[in-house]
């Protein structure tokens, strides 16, 4: 089990809830802001990682993403069928709100 496997499950849970093409970027942006108080680009630059390859991030950051994406996927799987909306934007907004709430909870357990 690694970060990529967990992330695949996370993206599948977004897709299964009807997430559109922009929902994945937004989910990543939301969890990164909530977990690390910066955006993805800043996280890679600030930690000396190679952008686009999460295995180059510090282990603590990789673990935070993995834990959060696992819990966020659980929550989205639980909500499946109850997330609806008239437009793609509305559905994406509800998915992102779910990811935001999970990420806020995860953040409480992180040591930084």
């Amino acid at each position: 089990m690694d970060g990529a496997t967990v992330y695949k499950r996370f993206t599948k849970s977004i897709k299964d809830n009807g997430g559109g093409p922009r929902s994945y970027q937004r989910a990543v942006s939301t969890e990164t802001e909530e977990l690390f108080d910066c955006n993805v680009e800043q996280l890679y630059k600030g930690t000396g990682g190679k952008q686009g390859d999460r295995t180059t991030l510090p282990q603590a950051a990789q673990e935070a993403y993995m834990v959060n994406e696992s819990i966020a996927a659980n929550e989205l799987e639980r909500q499946q069928g109850s997330i609806g909306g008239e437009t793609e934007k509305e559905v994406d907004g509800k998915i992102i709100e779910s990811v935001r709430q999970t990420s806020k909870q995860t953040r409480k357990w992180l040591p930084w």
């Binding site: 009807g18 922009r22 990543v28 990164t32 952008q51 686009g52 993403y65 609806g84 935001r100």
Partner: protein, 165 residues
């Protein structure tokens, strides 16, 4: 929910809404849009707002910045961000968005990393095949003069990943 159906030309009103959505996402922090009054001035950077081409340029730029800024896993550029298919609302502007992304000095490196990840054993052939919109885009660009091509062949292999002769 409604999904955009394939269409030949997007109406300006709809295009403006997508430009706003992309700009809003770019300027959002923890769910709050920062300084929404700056939107008009930022679109003006791309030209006269009475012309559709100005809005297309703005859309391509904001979408490219969003794709770059949020690129946690490079393979998502291939599997999602640039995996344009006719059922997506942004299909019509696929070349403009990719062109804007290619303005980043590290853009080709990110795409190469994404392809290496996607074509590794971490992904099944079925998952790899889901990126057909991206590969079709690359093939389209191969025959277009003036377009920046991508350093991959139609056999979907990277030069560095090709077996030694």
């Amino acid at each position: 929910m409604s999904r955009a159906s394939p269409k030949l030309t997007m109406k300006l009103t709809e295009l403006k809404q997508h430009v706003w959505d992309a700009w809003e996402f770019l300027n959002e922090w923890k769910g709050q849009v920062l300084q929404p009054e700056n939107f008009v001035a930022e679109v003006k950077r791309f030209g006269d707002r009475r012309y559709k081409r100005t809005w297309v340029k703005a859309l391509a730029h904001f979408e490219a910045v969003n794709a770059h800024q949020n690129c946690l896993d490079a393979y998502m550029l291939i599997l999602n961000d640039f995996n344009f298919t006719p059922d997506r609302w942004d299909y019509e502007y696929r070349h403009e968005i990719l062109d804007a992304f290619l303005m980043y000095p590290d853009s080709l490196d990110l795409i190469k990393t994404g392809l290496e990840q996607l074509l590794s054993s971490d992904f099944t052939p079925t998952e790899q095949a889901e990126a057909h919109g991206f590969f079709e885009l690359v093939e389209e660009r191969g025959g277009e003069p003036g377009r920046i091509g991508l350093p991959i062949g139609s056999d979907r292999r990277l030069p560095a990943a090709s077996p030694a002769a």
